[in-house]
């Protein structure tokens, strides 16, 4: 994937957090992950991409970030089920909104969500993975995008 397309994902995630009031999302400089396992936080939602493009998009976040998003949604139940649900929903929203740019042949899977660090996350070979770090209310998350050109 070319760097220029990263702006699509930056805009989507900024729009997502823009719904939650005045606290602005800080998007740090995206960087390229080369020959390394991607970092994961407490919860990670992975979306498989098929069709015109193949690859993965995933959203990973700390528990405090997810808790604050739930707060902003008016959701008082911050148990593990809802943290998992929210992680999948954010990953699904990021990927689904990307179809506005990439079209309906950008097929997205239902999210797979896991807690903690797996032994490894399999990213497509021979493709570059871009990491977009985000901070909201001083809490950390990342969007990882690995797509064929």
């Amino acid at each position: 994937m070319k760097e220029q397309k990263l702006q699509v994902f930056v805009d989507i995630i900024s729009n997502y957090f823009g719904l939650f009031g005045e606290d602005e999302l800080v998007v740090d400089t995206p960087y390229l992950l080369e020959n390394k396992q991607p970092q994961v936080h407490d919860y990670t939602g992975v979306i498989g991409i098929s069709g015109a493009k193949k690859g993965v998009v995933y959203f990973t976040a700390t528990t405090p970030l997810l808790s604050r998003i739930l707060d902003s949604m008016g959701e008082s139940d911050q148990g593990e089920d809802n943290l998992i649900d929210l992680t999948g929903e954010v990953a699904n929203t990021i990927s689904g909104n990307a179809r506005k740019e990439f079209g309906s042949m950008f097929h997205i899977s239902v999210p797979i969500v896991f807690k903690g660090a797996p032994q490894s996350i399999i990213l497509p070979k021979n493709e570059r993975s871009f990491i977009i770090p985000v901070t909201w209310q001083h809490q950390l998350g990342e969007i990882v995008v690995c797509l064929q050109d």
Binding site: L19, M73, G74, D81, S95, G96, N97, R99, K100, G103
Partner: protein, 120 residues
């Protein structure tokens, strides 16, 4: 009073929709987490207004819309989905959905979309 069914595999989204609508105008009769479950509950509870996610396990929302409209062409379906491409919106409407609300949405946008759905 409109009989409402909420179809979404996300508990958080179902809760958000439940908190947003006016209980004076809508009465929640069922919730479902997949297209298969929605179809079963539709036959049991016969809602006249449905909010429908598209990306769900078992049976996706588009297939579910088609099957529900085949049973009752008068039912009003609001698609609530992150799939924001034009083709998906057109397909949903051509299958019989009455409106489309893109995720993420604000509470105001949801309320407005629900009321527009039952206006005419």
């Amino acid at each position: 009073m409109h009989k409402l069914m909420i179809v979404d595999d996300s508990n958080i989204i179902r809760n958000r929709i439940q908190r947003a609508y006016d209980s004076g105008q809508f009465m929640l009769v069922a919730t479902a987490t997949s297209g298969v479950s929605a179809l079963e509950k539709f036959n049991t509870h016969r809602p006249n207004v449905i909010t429908m996610d598209l990306t769900m396990p078992e049976m996706d929302g588009l297939e579910c819309i088609e099957k529900i409209i085949a049973i009752d062409p008068e039912v009003r379906i609001l698609v609530v989905s992150a799939l924001s491409d034009k083709a998906t919106g057109i397909e949903a409407l051509s299958l019989g959905a009455s409106g489309f609300l893109c995720k993420p949405f604000s509470e105001e946008e949801l309320v407005e979309a629900l009321y527009e759905l039952v206006q005419d």
